[in-house]
């Protein structure tokens, strides 16, 4: 009995330490970036393009670029991913084909992002002649996000009780009516959370946009979706490793990192709020 209690105490302490360790790392990173980046943040930093060989000025083109590319990513990957998830979860008969599809999706999720970048070059930039552009980069990021969206959306569909489907079908609803009216609304919070988390991850990616459309430096804002663009993660990468005056621009790099983190944080916060609201509405 006494030994059992000691084991219990030890187990609790070790697991607690693991959790604490993760939290500490997170806070050290956030604290460092917040403290070092806060001084750089100003209205002009957010609203002006870089100047003087990117040693002065702001990051407006990078913010705008990341914003539009993220929208392209979402517009491409969410409908496609949710559609695929509906097929897999609601229509497809379990069998060799669905097992094969699921295994492929899982493997795709494990492919390094630089491989997506090179694939994007081959498919969008070259084969589809979209050039190095916001569209090419957005679609490449969309491909990267797809496996995640399909998987989380399918999980969301699996949480919908069977009785909602059966109840609807028993009232003479077609499969599509059942999905549209009884399955999707219930799965929606989960789908949305998964989609936003996936997209916010894509917004911070560098490798997939490296060859497909991001630019080192552009003094003006992109005029169309077919233009090259600047992006926050790539700008951060340049400022912290490739710039000719790295020490001098370090505050700008920290500022960029802070903006990127805040952006991702707000996306995640939106996901949490939406999920919380809809959960209250649909689940008890």
């Amino acid at each position: 009995m006494k030994q059992g209690r000691l084991q219990q105490y030890l187990g609790f302490a070790i697991l607690g330490a693991c959790a604490l360790f993760v939290v500490i790392i997170l806070f050290v990173i956030l604290y460092d970036i917040a403290v070092q980046g806060a001084g750089t943040i100003s209205w002009s930093f957010l609203s002006e393009p870089p100047r003087a060989g990117m040693t002065e000025g702001g990051i407006l083109p990078a913010i705008i670029g990341t914003f539009f590319v993220t929208i392209i990513t979402a517009a491409f990957s969410v409908p496609l991913g949710v559609g695929a998830a509906i097929y897999l979860s609601e229509y497809a008969v379990e069998g060799r084909l669905t097992r094969w599809i699921r295994a492929s999706i899982r493997n795709l999720a494990g492919v390094p992002s630089i491989v997506y970048g090179l694939f994007g070059v081959a498919l969008f930039v070259r084969a589809m002649s979209l050039g190095t552009s916001m569209v090419s980069a957005g679609l490449t990021l969309g491909l990267l996000t797809l496996p995640w969206i399909i998987t989380t959306a399918e999980e969301a569909f699996q949480t919908v009780p069977k009785s909602y489907r059966e109840g609807s079908l028993a009232l003479g609803a077609t499969t599509w009516q059942t999905i549209w009216r009884n399955v999707l609304p219930y799965a929606f919070p989960g789908i949305l959370t998964g989609a936003i988390l996936g997209i916010s991850r894509a917004a911070g990616e560098t490798a997939p946009i490296l060859f497909t459309g991001v630019a080192f430096f552009l003094p003006q804002l992109p005029g169309s979706l077919m233009d090259q663009f600047m992006a926050l993660p790539y700008h951060l990468y340049i400022m912290s490793t490739q710039h000719h005056a790295i020490e001098e621009v370090r505050p700008l790099a920290y500022g960029t990192a802070l903006v990127l983190i805040v952006l991702v944080f707000f996306l995640n916060l939106t996901a949490i709020i939406i999920r919380y609201r809809l959960r209250k509405k649909y689940q008890r």
Binding site: E166, G167, L169, Q177
Partner: protein
């Protein structure tokens, strides 16, 4: 039993993969009567019930042989519209399963998917269906609140109202009171007795007293076979089969 049957099975066999779960079922369900299906767990009574609206097909690997006639038309014939069958043959589930929508939207669901657009007609039908299940007085002031806030018994009556709203001809009930307390059970049983004036009702129950109280006819199933079928009072007081007698007297089950 010379009346024309509302629902009739002819040599009905049903398989889950290689496993035969119903054997050669022949049963005649008369209109405006309550027919109870009783038997021990796993005897196939719920499976049989779900054959009547073809809901078994949702499970991969099911196969049906033989015929089920609804008004003398085989519902398993090629080209029969399964959606149309389910509109005529409603099903009440064992566990109340209101949708996570408002009370009003739950009852209106069947009308909306059937393409009814007229708001006045929808709200009239919702009121009538709720009134028919005795729920109207209890919920009329909170039609727009979530159906999930209702008590279990109210939820089950809501599910019945939801089925009534599309005016089915046959109502299947799969142990509709097994999740309810005695008071709520009593209300549902009362409702069943009223509903048979308009509908044909088939009710699966593991509760023999319930079968005795609500049904006109009773079928006893055992190991996927229909052992005995007849008027409820005869099945319960003078069963023809030894097996039925043993079950009803509580010797197994």
């Amino acid at each position: 039993m010379s009346l024309p049957a509302k629902v009739e099975t002819k040599n009905l066999n049903m398989f889950y993969g290689d496993n035969q779960v119903l054997h050669d079922i022949n049963i005649k369900i008369l209109p405006n009567k309550v027919t109870a299906l009783i038997g021990p767990s796993g005897c196939g009574k719920s499976t049989l019930l779900r054959c009547f609206n073809r809901l078994n097909e949702l499970i991969v690997g099911t196969r049906v042989e033989g015929e089920i006639l609804l008004d003398n038309k085989n519902i398993y014939e090629n080209g029969m519209d399964v959606v149309d069958i389910r509109r005529k043959v409603g099903l009440i589930f064992q566990k109340p399963n209101p949708f996570p929508k408002s009370i009003y939207d739950n009852v209106a669901f069947g009308l909306k998917i059937n393409g009814t657009k007229d708001r006045k007609q929808i709200s009239e039908t919702v009121e009538k269906s709720l009134a028919d299940t005795g729920l109207w007085e209890e919920v009329k002031d909170r039609l727009n609140t979530s159906a999930l806030d209702l008590s279990g018994g109210q939820q089950q009556r809501l599910c019945i109202a939801r089925a009534l709203a599309i005016e089915p001809e046959v109502i299947l009930m799969d142990e509709p009171t097994s999740a309810l307390d005695p008071a709520a059970t009593f209300k549902v049983e009362e409702l069943v007795s009223q509903l048979k004036k308009k509908y044909t009702i088939i009710i699966v129950t593991h509760n023999m007293q319930q079968a005795g109280r609500v049904s006109d006819y009773t079928g006893f199933l055992y190991l996927g076979k229909l052992v005995e079928f007849g008027r409820t009072n005869e099945v319960f007081t003078r069963p023809k089969e030894k097996l039925t007698e043993n079950y009803i007297s509580g010797r197994f089950g």
